[in-house]
């Protein structure tokens, strides 16, 4: 990770200055930003700042809300080639290739940057290092955007996040009277700031906080809820569709398989997978652990608040960033905040 900078310099820029800066970045590297695709806002490459999904009202301004999928897909794409396989008779040749594009992501919300940090713990800080994730992560600069108001399903403040959380950003922008205040958090971010062109300012950075507090059971209390009937009851709603895991900034389960590309040519790929799937754990002899939907749904919640923190040593922090995406996409109304409230109720 890039070293942090501590000189506390910040700049005041207009919307026009921001857009021309992003245009310059897009000319030199791949710029990824919230963009409208088929009616959805997604983090996608843009060739110029005009393609970004800016809010139009009252004046063109920061993209509203958060994209449907998190920045996870930039470091850990839904499908990734790990190597190619050439097969000719009994001869096998394997050819490695790694992603090598340099990207800048604009419009990253604090919950998403925090999600990336949580995935770093698994892919970068726990041996062996995941070379695919590491390449993408090292070559990416995150330009964050502080949130002015919470979305209807946001609850980052319940899980240790904040709308102005700068910790996991390279550059952070704060909306400020028709323009933005910018601060570089890391050397990587500082490198992108156009030296003399921007006006330095002593204006205080705005701080923001949301009054959203859902109770998160302490880590040590999770084991005692394991056999609660609750999991089977709440899972009556669950369709095992796995959408919650795919939109989650920290769900990272994957499957590995070979795809046929041409006669004798294959690619070993990995793709997202999720613990809600019924065949996810099928083993030799046809045995399927966690046959019940409730057991699988329970695993998802335990993974966020107990298993993942235990497995990768993040102490009492949770692996949920409070982005609320799983609530938005669930077609059956499974709501993680409702589950957290229910768990804290006396039995």
């Amino acid at each position: 990770m890039s070293k942090s900078v501590t000189d506390n310099k910040h700049w005041l820029i207009s919307q026009t200055e921001l857009e021309s800066w992003l245009d310059q970045i897009a000319n030199a590297r791949t710029l990824i930003a919230p963009r409208e695709v088929a009616g959805l806002t997604l983090y996608r490459p843009v060739e110029k700042s005009a393609e970004i999904a800016w809010s139009d009202k009252p004046l063109r301004s920061a993209p509203s809300g958060r994209p449907v999928l998190s920045v996870k897909e930039i470091f850990f794409p839904a499908t990734e080639r790990m190597f190619s396989i050439q097969k000719s008779g009994q001869d096998i040749a394997l050819k490695e290739s790694f992603p090598d594009w340099e990207t800048v992501v604009f419009g990253v919300r604090p919950c998403d940057a925090h999600g990336a940090k949580l995935l770093d713990v698994l892919f970068l800080d726990t041996n062996p290092i995941d070379m695919f994730y590491a390449r993408r992560r090292e070559n990416t600069t995150l330009i964050g955007l502080a949130c002015k108001s919470p979305g209807s399903t946001c609850f980052c403040t319940s899980v240790g996040g904040a709308p102005d959380d700068v910790r996991d950003m390279d550059i952070m922008l704060f909306e400020n009277e028709g323009g933005y205040l910018a601060e570089a958090m890391t050397e990587k971010g500082r490198f992108l700031i156009p030296g003399g062109e921007w006006k330095e300012t002593t204006t205080d950075l705005p701080s923001a906080n949301f009054e959203i507090q859902f109770p998160i059971p302490e880590k040590g209390k999770w084991p005692e809820h394991f056999n609660d009937d609750y999991w089977m009851k709440i899972s009556e709603r669950c369709l095992s569709c796995r959408a919650c895991a795919f939109v989650c900034p920290t769900c990272r389960c994957f499957a590995v398989r070979d795809e046929l590309m041409a006669p004798g040519e294959f690619e070993r790929i990995r793709c997202w997978d999720a613990c809600a799937g019924e065949n996810y754990r099928r083993v030799a002899g046809g045995h399927k652990p966690r046959p019940e939907k409730g057991e699988r749904l329970r695993n998802r919640f335990y993974c966020k608040f107990f298993y993942y923190p235990e497995q990768y040593g993040i102490g009492n922090a949770s692996a949920c960033t409070g982005c609320g995406r799983c609530i938005d996409v669930c077609p059956a109304g499974v709501d993680i905040t409702e589950v957290l409230v229910d768990l804290e109720k006396p039995a």
């Binding site: 790990m82 097969k87 394997l94 726990t126 070379m131 994957f254 997978d273 613990c275 030799a284 298993y307």
Partner: protein, 278 residues
């Protein structure tokens, strides 16, 4: 391990033979960097085998490295990767990633009586334990092997039973759920056999591998009826893994990951977690 731990070494099949119905023994000669990586490995470790064009799956290594440079795996045909592996023959090349995971603490077992319980293909990762004991016979007390399968045609390593029986202070007990006309051994579940053999817990350690339900009932019987303490019960667990490196998230048993915290577990350490694995 390769610098990229998801990239397999190559291994050449030097022998492929039927081990049981729909179960084959694959014997591999490691090529290139693989021969160095597999110079040493321990009883209980596993590796991923690739059937190129299909994918890869994890298998317990079925021999000790002391028995020579070749590496054995028992592969039951259950899905696409294992079907792909069953289609291969001598001279074909597969991918191998490993050795992975922890192992049975054989040094710690020195001087103990060992009771080895294998159910079906679950016998494969226990074969190196048996080989290790036979090859270092004076270091261990008695060796009691309880070997089970649903049907006689599903018993693995049948051609080695004579060697096992002939070893000093070693006994082999066989059972099947559904016998055929030629079957002259025990009939019933491994738990019934275990009750009949009733090994003493004195200075003894058990090592079990089989379907989760078998592990559950064997462990219960050992602890509730035969007087074993969880500390003296070891199991090796199977899980559907896709990386073996603690990344893919699939093989969790509670907060443990079978791939990196196991596959070998002491029941004292995981007793309460087994229910999350069922």
């Amino acid at each position: 391990m390769n610098q990229n731990p998801m990239l397999p070494y190559l291994g050449k099949l030097v022998e492929v033979r039927d081990l049981a119905a729909d179960i084959k023994l694959l014997r591999l000669e490691m090529l290139n960097g693989g021969s160095e990586a597999f110079r040493t490995y321990q009883p209980g470790q596993f590796a991923f085998i690739s059937a190129f064009g299909f994918g890869e799956a994890p298998f317990g290594i079925a021999n000790t490295c002391g028995r020579g440079p070749m590496v054995d795996f028992a592969v039951a045909r259950v899905g696409s990767v294992t079907t792909g592996l069953h289609e291969l023959g001598q001279g074909d090349v597969v991918g191998v990633r490993g050795p992975l995971g922890n192992w049975f603490p054989m040094k710690k077992f020195k001087g103990n009586n060992l009771i080895v319980l294998g159910g079906g293909i679950g016998g494969a990762p226990l074969r190196p334990v048996i080989q290790f004991v036979l090859d270092n016979r004076p270091d261990f007390g008695s060796l009691t092997i309880l070997w089970a399968a649903r049907h006689p045609s599903l018993l693995v390593f049948t051609d080695e039973y004579d060697e096992w029986r002939a070893a000093p202070n070693t006994s082999l007990h066989l059972t099947v759920d559904n016998p055929d006309d030629n079957w002259k051994q025990n009939v019933g579940l491994i738990t019934q056999l275990l009750e009949k053999v009733a090994p003493s817990p004195e200075n003894s350690v058990t090592i079990t591998c089989g379907p989760p339900i078998m592990i559950h009932f064997v462990t219960k019987l050992l602890q509730e009826k035969l007087g074993f303490t969880p500390r003296n019960n070891y199991v090796t667990l199977e899980a559907r893994m896709h990386c073996g490196l603690g990344k893919c998230g699939r093989c969790n048993m509670g907060e443990k990951l079978v791939c990196v915290d196991g596959p070998v577990f002491n029941m004292e350490e995981v007793g309460g977690l087994l229910e999350t694995y069922m």
